[in-house]
Amino acid sequence: MTKLNPGYKLLTLILASLLLSTTYSTTLNMLVALTALTVTFLTPGVNRRRLTLALLPFLLTAAGMFMTGLFFSSPGEAEIAVRVVDQRTLYATSWSTALKLASRIMAFGGLGMLFAFTTNSMELVMSLMQQFRLPPKFAYGILAAYHFFPTIRSEYATVGAALKVRGIKAFAFSPKRIFPMLVHALERSESLAMAMESRGFEGGVQRAVAFRVPLRAVDILFLIGTIGILIVGLIFL
């Protein structure tokens, strides 16, 4: 999985997810989720502890959707009351709706995790540039900004702390808290762009490639195979 071309893997999983959103088959969704998670878990080099931890919020979301489906499903025909919980009448159709909705979250989440845990971000951007014509200006611009993520995250904490020290109340989305970060983002992007350009970075010109991300027959096979299996699944399940 880690050796596949990241761009094509992304394309495959997007197409797979789009195909899945045309179905309400619980069996197919659960099969996809299980397969994706198993493959991710068995891929060498995957951080299994982190994967297990990441499953937690994911299962919570699925549980949330399940309960929503249970209580707020659209009324179907020929409803049979199956159980009464807290004076709430639940219908057989509600159970199946709840399962359908939750299993869909599981399927999308499974595919998402498969991608997230087996893909290197640098290789993904390089692949998008080499195989999908993402302009270098965008590719390197994104990478440059992306590497500031840890800095910006700690800055968010710092700005919050600074406001607290001064006795200013600022909630998570307060402009007071976001504004200083925007100012920094502006200054930083100017100087980053200047630094890149002064080192000879040019957007429109032909450039040599230091990190070549190969596209192999396996990638095409993975694309066709995954989509093929899904279509078969859609027809029979």
Binding site: L18, S21, T61, G64, M67, F71, L101, V183, S189
Partner: protein
């Protein structure tokens, strides 16, 4: 064609914006996931997410407000999605499709005024536009067709309020604030204020 061309510093700035709002959104998601856990037994968990949904569109509308040219709303939303994927978003690849669709909602509004009008009206409409297209997308993606209409209306209204408040009103305020600092001289918004 220079209207469509992006300068390197603009690309980096928009990517930075996406990261700033990505961090803010992440903080919001923690709050939301706490709230949604509380709401799960009542079957109202998806409502928690709707409250912070507007933060998703902030990078897009603010970037469009500052750069004021065609394509910014949609490109910045796709960039935001790509960065989400790089950071390992749980829904991974699907986020990119969502980005294109949401960005298009805002883009349509700015295009409707031929990219000449960037004020409170178009900003709020763009935020609402993002909200509408994103809701249509949620509808298809998450199978909301199976849910009751009443719940869907409540969800939509919460998302709409969140979008207009965060991506419309707040972004306009912060954009104007930035222009006042004089830092935006090399951007369309800064020139408009000068």
């Amino acid at each position: 064609m220079s209207k469509f061309k992006w300068k390197l510093h603009e690309v980096i700035f928009v990517a930075m914006l996406c990261i700033v709002f990505g961090v803010v959104y992440l903080a919001g998601v923690y709050l939301a996931s706490f709230l949604s856990t509380v709401l799960t037994p009542f079957g109202l968990a998806p409502l928690a997410n709707e409250i912070v949904f507007g933060v998703w569109f902030m990078a897009s509308t603010l970037a469009a407000y500052i750069l004021q040219k065609p394509g910014v709303a949609i490109v910045s939303e796709v960039l935001a999605a790509l960065i989400e994927v790089l950071m390992g978003n749980m829904y991974g690849p699907m986020v990119i499709v969502a980005g294109i669709i949401q960005g298009a909602g805002g883009e349509i509004v700015f295009a409707g005024w031929k990219y000449k009008r960037f004020d409170a009206l178009t900003m709020n409409l763009a935020a609402a536009g993002c909200c509408i297209t994103s809701f249509l997308w949620s509808f298809v993606r998450s199978g909301y067709g199976l849910l009751s209409v009443k719940l869907l209306i409540v969800m939509f209204l919460i998302r709409l309020v969140s979008s207009v408040l965060f991506a419309g009103v707040l972004c306009k305020l912060m954009g104007d604030g930035l222009a006042k600092t004089g830092l935006l001289k090399s951007y369309a918004l800064g020139r408009a204020h000068a």
